[in-house]
């Protein structure tokens, strides 16, 4: 499926993933087309290039799955279409990272 004009493409690495990576910055409200699928989401926040967007609702303490693997855990619930980053998820190994860089 070819994304329409003004649609931002997001890249999904594994069918079990709950986040996708936007290739270009997606302003809040932009339509996000998940490459290789028919799914189109609306960005709830501005998502910078290379950053992740929730493609389903994620509950607090849920695992974040990318590459079909756990990359961390949500410490807040995350709505579909929201930007997923240090403000809502953290490493299981190195939870101190977000404090170290002052988030």
């Amino acid at each position: 499926m070819k994304p329409e004009e003004n649609t931002i493409t997001a890249f999904l690495l594994d069918s079990s993933d709950n986040v996708a990576t936007v290739l270009d910055e997606a302003p809040a409200g932009a339509q996000i087309s998940i490459k290789g699928t028919d799914t189109v989401l609306t960005a709830a926040d501005t998502v910078p290039s290379g950053h992740k967007i929730a493609i389903v609702h994620i509950d607090e303490l849920d695992e974040i799955i990318k590459y079909g693997q756990r990359i961390g855990r949500a410490y807040k619930s995350i709505d579909t279409g929201s930007w997923v980053h240090l403000h809502n998820i953290e490493s299981v190994y190195d939870a101190g990272f977000r404090e170290r860089i002052g988030t």
């Binding site: 910078p48 990359i71 170290r100 860089i101």
Partner: protein, 392 residues
């Protein structure tokens, strides 16, 4: 399926090379200037060396492996004369592997000018001799390939690194040998590795990872930095998985320590973590990671980048992959394969993996890579403490 790629060069120790290099190697920074001048007459002399003076088991082992690299026909070793790292020992190592060896010792040979003259004469001699090297059939199964990622961006882990993994799968299926590195960037990948190897080998991986975690905890740094977060990598696990994609999907045969070369073919993890936290940190630069691959006997290296880097390597052709359209434009002369069609076009990772394999085969058959054409011969040796432990 195994394939005849090209005519390689058969070394007297049975190794096969895909290049027939003349190298100049210095043993201490005091000899670098002379070595550089000795190498200056020819564009394709492979110049490398070691800043230090003091030697230890690690430096001795890694340097000895480098002077026996399969792509080397002959080597001029340039020493000052009083350094701890003995040029004679390296010369013996190269000679025992059947390489043509010449030694210049600045303190004996009469200072800068005379040493340069002597070294240049040796280089000319080696160039005149190198056509006498024996040729042999070189198969895909003879290849040893290393990989490294540097100047990564958030897209490296989506496009270039999985493309390397796809190519690795094909080379291993053909009976070849591939290496991956960067244990500090495997934290969070344990579940993936455990299913890909024997219990014994997993034990070695686990032990190396524990060492890496010890160091990370001690220095309060898990290998993820501000720039990674700005680029969209949120956790060390996420960064690790992106890097880990380079290893593909095949069984991990064993773990090798830096400077050791496995006899059996297969997929190997290079353990580049020091034994002792107080004596050297894990390699922190791309040039060091590349020297680890060269010391494992890799014929070539695949380098994935996002932000772009000009570096190549002495001894190994480097094939550079980049998935960033902007970087592919700005640094076009440095990039060998644009992997962005995986992200922005309809190309599948496996299709791009096939393209990379073709590039690997053409490079083995003599096609020059971007870094070779531009004359890059970076290679950096570093100090650390890591004991010898033979693998299979």
């Amino acid at each position: 399926m195994d394939t005849l790629i090209t005519k390689g060069w058969l070394r007297p120790d049975g190794q096969k090379g895909i290049r027939n290099h003349v190298a100049v190697a210095f043993t201490v920074e005091c000899a670098e200037h002379v070595a550089r001048k000795i190498a200056a007459d020819y564009d394709d002399v492979q110049l490398f060396g070691f800043d230090g003076c003091h030697s230890n088991d690690f430096v001795q082992r890694v340097y000895s492996s480098l002077v026996q690299h399969p792509n080397i026909f002959g080597i001029v070793i340039v020493t000052l004369g009083c350094e701890m790292l003995r040029g004679e020992i390296l010369a013996d190592a190269a000679r025992s592997a059947g390489r043509e060896v010449r030694l210049v010792s600045i303190q004996k040979d009469g200072g800068t000018t005379k040493s340069i003259e002597k070294g240049r004469a040796y280089v000319r001699e080696l160039y005149s001799l190198r056509d006498t090297a024996e040729r042999c059939d070189f198969f895909l199964s003879d290849l040893r390939i290393g990989s490294n990622c540097g100047g990564s961006d958030a897209l490296s882990g989506l496009a270039s690194n999985p493309v390397v993994g796809s190519m690795y799968d094909r080379v291993i299926d053909a009976g070849g040998t591939c290496f991956f590195d960067e244990i500090t960037e495997m934290i969070g990948c344990e579940d993936m590795v455990v299913g890909r190897t024997s219990n014994e080998v997993f034990g070695k991986i686990r032990e190396a990872m524990d060492r890496a975690i010890d160091i990370a905890s001690h220095v309060g740094q898990f290998g993820i930095v501000t720039g990674n977060a700005e680029g969209g990598l949120t956790t060390i696990e996420e960064k690790s998985l992106g890097a880990y994609m380079k290893s593909g999907h095949r069984q991990v045969t064993d773990v090798v320590r830096v400077g050791e070369r496995p006899v059996e073919k297969g997929l190997y993890l290079i353990d580049s973590i020091p034994d002792d936290l107080t004596r050297g940190i894990s390699p922190i630069s791309d040039a060091e990671d590349m020297s680890n691959a060269a010391a494992a006997g890799c014929h070539m290296l695949i380098f994935t980048t996002g932000r772009g880097t000009p570096m190549g390597s002495a001894l190994m052709p480097v094939i550079k992959l980049c998935g960033s359209p902007a970087t592919n434009k700005v640094m076009a002369e440095n990039i060998d394969l644009d992997t962005s069609p995986v992200l922005y076009g309809d190309t599948l990772i496996d299709e791009m993996g096939e393209r990379l394999l073709n590039l690997v085969v053409e490079t083995a058959a003599g096609m020059l890579t971007a870094s070779e054409k531009l004359g890059h011969t970076e290679l950096h040796l570093h100090y650390m403490e890591q004991k010898h432990r033979p693998c299979n």
